[in-house]
């Protein structure tokens, strides 16, 4: 055991046999893989045997919280899960702001949870310190995320950490997610379906233990100074007021203030980005919706809805079922396009899909979530539609990455076209497209290159790499811009550090962290001596192992890491620096840059023997 941060135990639950065990956390693994995200990847490496289908009982779920989770350090509630995801078919990480779940899990005495097998009947896992039980879930099976979460809070009180699936997860919809405390989404790519396939409705947790830190004096010094920095941030009030709307003003502030009932925050977060809103008038008057951001509630408007109130109603419906909104919009629009082009007879799609109609889309949300009629086909995502209606339909599909609908790019929801690290990362993260900035400066609106080194230092990028990311002017005096592929390597490294400690992945709050501060906080909390190069190297080890786990599953660059053709059209992505349309040649270079910066083979993306040896992964 260390002096603090870790609870010291891994909970191991076999749903098939009902066996529940706990193992002492292997501290030698902690030394090598930090904790949280990193240790979850490492435990998944052992737990996952390659070659099994995502929805088979042989696909385990491994979860974890980092050593900072449960402390008072800002925004340290993050929860991670790793499993094979049904849509991409890859081993993917899933992450969520842990709301109350993260600290409750730690206070119950655990850092990690492994779930294996499949229960005969629907169950939920109830964790109350050492009392861990699989409980009959018949009373909540078939109920929405809201109903399920409310039922647990009614029975066990708030704040009980509740991680639950809705009907979409139960029916193993390929794009079903799980939700933590009904507002934090966990697992694009079908994490909810993996839970559903296991007949696992929910995990609920309460803990009475405490999270201790190893060096209280050092902790206090570091945290007090850090909290002062956040308090003094001139835009803090604006962030607290608007949340993600400050970055993406997709809803007028006046309108947001009119509907907002309460800002909500994960435990320990000083910013808060989640919302409870109430529709003030119209046919849905009085409807209260909870969301991981008001930006999400505006997504239907971005997709063409005229009335924002209808949009909120639709998102509340999708969240209730536990459906990923990006995939839902992508798949329904794809099917409508196929009908319009005569590839699906109209009589098979009744009522017709109308992209901006609440009534139509609510009907299809229900059919998909419950797998009714043609909804059964749509529930298998783009892959299911193409399988049913033939390979010729692919030409009408939007840009797809690993059979998923990217959130940004031509035809996608989010209205930006700059090709930064997060956009390239949609292709190069084995899990597939997801919204996650990894602390990169390209997340926000275009910035001058001069400000980048400041962010590089924050992310812990070694000075020696700066010139590779920002090569400056060439011999002819031409500015060479920003090497996105190289920066993405360090963005993934920084994301890994944050996630392994348990710090939120949202740029609005992790912007306050500095990699060197992370090393000092880790040391103060856990008592494990570490410096920034040591932390960085462990993060390199973790992300490379994540890649190796996927290579073991058959991941190949030639099949999986290709930018969609639709990204290269005139109205597609633009180079972050030149603002010229993205071209295939430069995108190939970005991918090779990325591999090379990691020490992976530039043509294949397979980690070289030398790199594996250096990272102790041989």
């Amino acid at each position: 055991m260390t002096g603090g941060g870790f609870a010291g135990w891994v909970l191991d639950v076999d749903l098939t046999s009902g066996r529940i065990a706990k193992h002492a956390l292997d501290m030698s693994l902690v030394e090598d893989f930090i904790g949280g995200f990193g240790l979850t990847i490492r435990l998944a490496y052992d737990a996952i045997r390659p070659g099994f289908d995502a929805l088979s009982p042989d696909n385990p779920i491994v979860m974890g919280v980092g050593p900072l989770v449960g402390t008072s350090l800002p925004a340290t509630s993050r929860v991670y899960a790793v499993t094979k995801l049904p849509t991409s078919g890859t081993i993917g990480w899933c992450g969520a702001g842990g709301v109350t779940f993260g600290y409750q899990f730690k206070c119950a005495g655990y850092d990690h949870l492994i779930i294996r097998g499949r229960s005969e009947k629907p169950v939920y896992l109830r964790i109350m310190d050492d009392r861990v039980e699989l409980v009959d879930a018949r009373s909540c099976w078939g109920r929405s995320i809201d109903e399920t979460s409310e039922a647990f809070w009614k029975e066990m009180g708030w704040p009980t950490g509740v991680l639950a699936i809705g009907q979409a997860g139960e029916c193993q919809v390929a794009f079903a997610m799980a939700y933590i405390d009904r507002i934090a989404t966990l697992g694009r790519g079908g994490f909810g379906a993996v839970m559903g396939a296991k007949n696992l409705k929910a995990i609920v947790v309460q803990g009475t233990g405490g999270v201790r830190v190893a060096d209280r004096k050092k902790y206090r010094e570091l945290s007090e100074s850090f909290l002062r920095t956040i308090r003094d941030y001139p835009y803090l009030k604006e962030w607290q007021d608007l949340g993600l709307l400050k970055s993406f003003p997709v809803m007028p502030a006046e309108q947001y203030h009119r509907i907002r009932k309460r800002r909500l925050a994960c435990v320990s977060c000083p910013v808060g980005c989640k919302d409870a809103v109430e529709i003030p008038d119209g046919p849905h008057q009085g409807l209260v919706a909870y969301s991981s951001s008001a930006v999400n509630l505006s997504t239907p408007v971005l997709y063409g809805f005229q009335d924002y109130r209808d949009g909120i109603r639709l998102i509340a419906t999708l969240d209730g079922y536990g459906l990923d909104m990006f995939e839902f919009f992508g798949v329904t629009r794809f099917v409508k396009t196929l009908v319009d082009n005569g590839l699906i007879p109209l009589e098979r799609v009744q009522p017709p899909i109308v992209n901006d109609s609440l009534a139509s889309l609510e009907t299809w949300a229900e059919r998909i979530a419950l797998r009714e009629g043609l909804g059964d086909i749509l529930a298998d995502g783009f892959r299911g539609v193409v399988r049913e209606f033939g390979p010729e339909t692919v030409q009408f599909a939007p840009a797809l990455v690993k059979w998923m609908h990217p959130y940004a790019g031509p035809g996608a929801a989010l209205p930006w076209d700059m090709f930064g690290t997060m956009e390239l990362g949609q292709v190069l993260d084995p899990r597939g497209p997801h919204v996650g900035a990894g602390g990169s400066p390209t997340y926000f609106a275009k910035r001058p290159l001069e400000v980048f080194p400041k962010h590089f230092r924050r992310m812990g990028i070694p000075e020696a790499a700066f010139a590779r990311i920002l090569p400056g002017r060439d011999a002819s005096g031409r500015e060479q811009g920003l090497r996105i592929g190289r920066l993405l390597k360090y963005s993934h490294n920084w994301f890994t550090i944050l996630g392994s400690l348990g710090i939120c992945a949202r740029g609005q709050v992790n912007r306050f962290y500095h990699a060197d501060l992370c090393a000092r906080l880790y040391e103060a909390v856990t008592g494990i001596a570490i410096d920034l190069p040591g932390l960085r190297k462990r993060a390199d080890r973790i992300w490379t192992l994540y890649r190796m786990v996927n290579i073991r599953e058959g991941l190949q660059r030639s099949q999986a890491e290709i930018l969609p053709d639709q990204w290269f059209v005139a109205s597609g992505f633009k180079d972050y620096f030149t603002e010229e349309p993205l071209d295939i040649e430069s995108s190939e270079r970005m991918i090779e840059d990325y591999y090379q910066e990691w020490g992976w083979e530039p043509k294949t993306g397979v980690p070289s023997a030398e790199t594996l040896n250096d990272l102790g992964l041989k």
Partner: protein, 79 residues
């Protein structure tokens, strides 16, 4: 009666529980919001904030509140 009066504006509370984290750390030398002397109870969009009988009104909860929910003012000595 403690040194400070704690002023509460429940409308501003986000449920971040920073107050409970700070309180538990001060009094039990470990973080667990459930063992704090202040309790935030969220129910849907409603919020209720309570103090346990052993609260000393030390004000550490207000020091750690970022949202203006809790503020402390020094009690005046009786004339």
């Amino acid at each position: 009666m403690g040194k400070y009066e704690i002023l509460v504006d429940e409308m501003r509370c986000t449920g971040c529980l920073r107050c409970q984290l700070a309180c538990s750390d001060l009094y039990i030398k470990a973080f667990n919001p459930g063992r704090a002397r202040i309790r935030v109870v969220m129910s849907g969009v409603d919020c209720r904030i309570e103090f346990t009988d052993d609260c000393t009104e030390c004000g550490v909860c207000a020091d750690h509140c970022f949202f203006g929910t809790l503020q402390k003012t020094e009690r005046r000595a009786a004339p």
